[in-house]
Symmetry: D2
């Protein structure tokens, strides 16, 4: 059994890790931290897990973590993990960080997008961006995984096949993301209460979301040239789910469905957690059908009249968009079956 510590275990992504690990054959959660709820049992904050854990939240104590665990998942608010990761690595632990702190390769990007000088540029080089569809081989030898952002994951999965197969005009790409309220986490704030969000369709960070940095970094690598992408997220009144609709212009105006289909199949046919959607009662991916699971459902449409290819990816923002993908990458790093702990299907309706 691998002993796992979860830092920031009282939030939503921490709760999802705890939920996944209840059925993971090779993991025992030995440590779960929460500043606010230290001393309380796990189910005090996560009532759905009542009966699954005999574990109380602890404050963060690095020595104890080193004693009690082999791998550490950090599900802390952005910017906080930077305080702990270097020390945890030095003590020989493997680390999976769910924040943005180690996702970008270029230290300058932290200045630009996050407003601070990154103190560990060397770690940026060593960290592996935890999207198995792009970096499976590197993940096998990773010791520091930087797990991708939810909006970035959906956007990348929609765009990868089109960029890889050079089907689109790289100068005119926009991604419209719609996401549920769990994306904002469990912390209360005025605009986040139920009566404010229910029945609301609210654009935010319209002029460019921070996750664009990850998307451009990964797509530019694939394209072999520096790319720019526009991304505008919207909060809708779902709870779980993020859907990216990527609008692109086709290079070949008379492109056929088959060509695009083959591009998707080439990228994803062997992927255990990407499902290409065609046919059925619902023609396109819908977040409804991935809720609670690590699946990304992807699909596309061609608007021949205008020359557009629209590609779509639907994920559960807390799973493939956060904790599920983190466990998938962890499984690869540890040499486990990639699906371990992630087998149960989505929940519908």
């Amino acid at each position: 059994m691998v002993r796992v510590a979860i830092l920031g275990a009282s939030g939503y992504t921490g709760g999802e890790l705890l939920r996944i690990f209840t059925i993971h054959k090779h993991v025992e959660v030995t440590y779960a931290t929460s500043r606010e709820y230290a001393g309380k049992p796990v189910h005090y904050v996560h009532p759905h897990l009542r009966g699954y854990y005999r574990l109380n939240f602890s404050p963060i104590n690095i020595d104890e973590i080193a004693n009690k665990s082999d791998v550490v998942f950090l599900a802390l608010p952005h910017g906080v993990s930077i305080k702990y990761v270097p020390e945890l690595l030095e003590m020989g632990l493997k680390v999976v960080d769910l924040s943005a702190v180690f996702r970008l390769k270029n230290p300058k990007d932290y200045k630009l997008w996050y407003g601070y000088e990154h103190p560990y540029p060397d770690l940026l080089e060593k960290a592996v961006y935890g999207m198995p569809e792009l970096h499976r081989e590197e993940l096998k030898n990773a010791f520091l995984i930087a797990s991708p952002g939810c909006n970035a994951t959906a956007s990348l999965l929609a765009l990868i096949p089109l960029v890889k197969e050079k089907l689109i005009d790289l100068d005119h790409i926009v991604v419209d993301v719609k996401a549920g309220s769990s994306e904002g986490g469990a912390k209360p704030a005025p605009g986040r209460i139920h009566s404010e969000k229910e029945n609301s369709i609210r654009p935010y960070s319209v002029e460019g979301h921070r996750h664009v940095a990850e998307v451009e970094q990964e797509l530019s690598k694939i394209a072999g040239k520096k790319m720019k992408v526009g991304m505008s997220p919207h909060a809708v009144s779902s709870v779980r789910g993020a859907l990216a609709t990527a609008y692109t212009w086709s290079i070949d105006e008379s492109i056929s469905e088959m060509v695009v289909w083959r591009a998707f199949a080439k990228s994803y046919a062997k992927e255990p957690f990407v499902r290409i959607v065609r046919g059925g009662l619902t023609r396109y991916p819908d977040t409804k059908f991935v809720v609670g699971s690590n699946y990304a459902d992807v699909g596309f449409a061609i608007d021949k009249r205008v020359g557009r290819i629209i590609s779509i990816a639907a994920i559960d923002n807390l799973m493939k968009g956060a904790s599920g993908q983190a466990v998938q990458s962890f499984n690869i790093m540890m040499g486990f079956d990639e699906r371990e702990g992630l087998e149960p299907p989505p929940l519908r309706p």
Copy 2:
């Protein structure tokens, strides 16, 4: 008092007309039709209106309508109004049609977008597209108003200032629309039940929605050249509300907020039902803040890094997107105060 008949009064847009007219000073609803509920009182189907009307639904009888009414609103399923409009006009009645049957000027467009040969090309010329922001003068002399579609209204209101002031590249325009479940009307269907739509984010008609035809027609007139627009709607789990996010590329890469602001002000500063959103706790238009009203809240953002202008319009799909706008146009046609019946503010939360 103007005597008004509503054809198709048991559906949502018919119900909204009935709701608006309860407080309209110059209108008496004298006739309301429903095939399914003929003989039943209005509140049998519209329980919220209990106590407001002593009126039973009738079947459609043209002679009776001509006897009892001066103006006829048609809130019928698409394609049905074509059966009644010519006769109603001949009998000297004024007509406000909420369907698409008289919106397009070019008869060929009906073949292309709706799949049928339009039998009254002459009426297409005479009908006025009922968007006051574009056709207020013509509406004053109208006798046949073709009230715009909801997705088209939101898309047009987002794009008009940018096209009018020649700020954007006309070859790369896409509109992503998100709309609530009331847009589909009151008829049941498998994918429309609560358990299927709640917590769902579902793209549909991704490759191009029929309302594109109206949008291109009106924008092309403004631009002075044939334009193409990509539009992809998404059903989200709101009840009321449609939000259009228009993605465009700026011609001037260093365009300032002030220039775009002036474009919006020029188009909308005097409009009674368009509000330009800047500042406040929420920075951009949100459908939540127009629910139940005829307002369109519009706003924009500039993504300088990528060279994009994103413009946004939020409406209540049943009001500015249907019945509210129809009454606004009717008020203009009849010489009433344009705001009559539409004064009460939106409902929040």
Copy 3:
């Protein structure tokens, strides 16, 4: 024009007062207070009201209020109004308080239910409990109105006819209330965020809600004897709406529908804001059909097999359950048409 000041105008009930007064013929809002948003325009917090007011929030200044207004509405958090009401009354202003501070007649009840010694027992006697269905005559001469609680309003309206006509066993009455998230107000708290409340059915104060005190006070007066009522509220994932289902045992086991119907008609047939629901596509009151309005829809069922009468009242918790009822009582106090400002129908869907 009556000049009105609203204290606590940035919350939901304050916002509703502002919304109602936009169409009230005899009211001008001259003062609106908010500690947090002092100096900001009203639409900064209430974006739906953009364009309706040229008014900034002020801090509470009693002298200014006395200068600028004739009637003061207090929509403050519970317990705060006690600081201002006596002084406002002394300055000759009329007061409508939406909190519980002046609802109970017996000072001891404040100790029991709210945990404090009431400092103004004399004002408790003079205050009129602002439910027009019970105290219309007293309201005509009122200068201090204590507007009822939302759960209390729904519970009372369900029970009044049964108690008045002596149809039920007074020793076995329970009321199950279900209410939407707006009932909790606009302040954020951990359990109130969208992702926690959506898809939740959550009992609270199960062992007896504070509003029971009002319900027992008013029903006991009607019954002519001290009554006890059990009340248990539940938070469901609506935004607006409170539905009270009152479970009672019939004294006459073979009671007929007609007898109960007459009891309801006797109590409510002349009431402008109570609608008795019978028949239609939906058989019973549903909060959906009163949203945004001051209506209470009431109805009942007889479970002959068990000997129960179930009576039901549906209200919009922010309207008949708070601001709407406050304006209705205010209209009576001022000698206006009781319906003024409250004419627009509910919003559906």
Copy 4:
């Protein structure tokens, strides 16, 4: 491996059986029927299960079912299973029926509650009411399991400890049930579309729901005397979840929390799928915390002032209220670990 056939596999309870069996170690689903979708793959109707089954829907063919399966689950509309069950039993198959057709022991109750003469009174005797908390021993030898209704399950689990330990007045029991929209199944109907149910709180069958018959049958057995119970369900705008609030009067007016707690512990401490809720951030059971799982969360409150005991049970109506409980009973009948296939925790948020 046990070969399982699912009749009526395109509905929600059929879909849940398919979902559960994806991770059940001892089950292979070999046959899934749907009249409407015969010939289509399972994921055509259940897109969330894409990738899990290589199985097409079949029409119902009894011989084929007998050839291909050992146990048959019937998830058919009420009244339909009666056509197939006798024949399936004769062919030596074991049967789990999710409808009400074999739940009641007294044939006369079918006349009273369902309006028909039951054609197989002998089978009523042999069928085991599939609630493990009441009939675990009989289930071990069952061949025909009548799986309980969702409202009945929640109501029973709330009341069993109080009746068993003789704590309450048996003449004054009412249960108020609140349930989500999935309870109505996947079939469309006018009142069931999203825009009609969202933000609605709608009482139905207020004068007594059919599930009362099961509740009274089982409680009467425990009490040793014929009992009557009032039950009134309400549809709220959740998707999954049913919460029963049982209102009872205590025999001992000064009853302590400890006594009630012991009653609950005595009934449920050893039950694998009943969790007694005390403490935590949320004090009472909430459907939110059992979604997707087979758990029933139960709890209670004492209203000393009035002499009431309120007991509460929260379930997922499709799991403990239908398919989950059916699999739990099936596991007992087959001698498997009762938890098999039902281990994954609930999904939150």
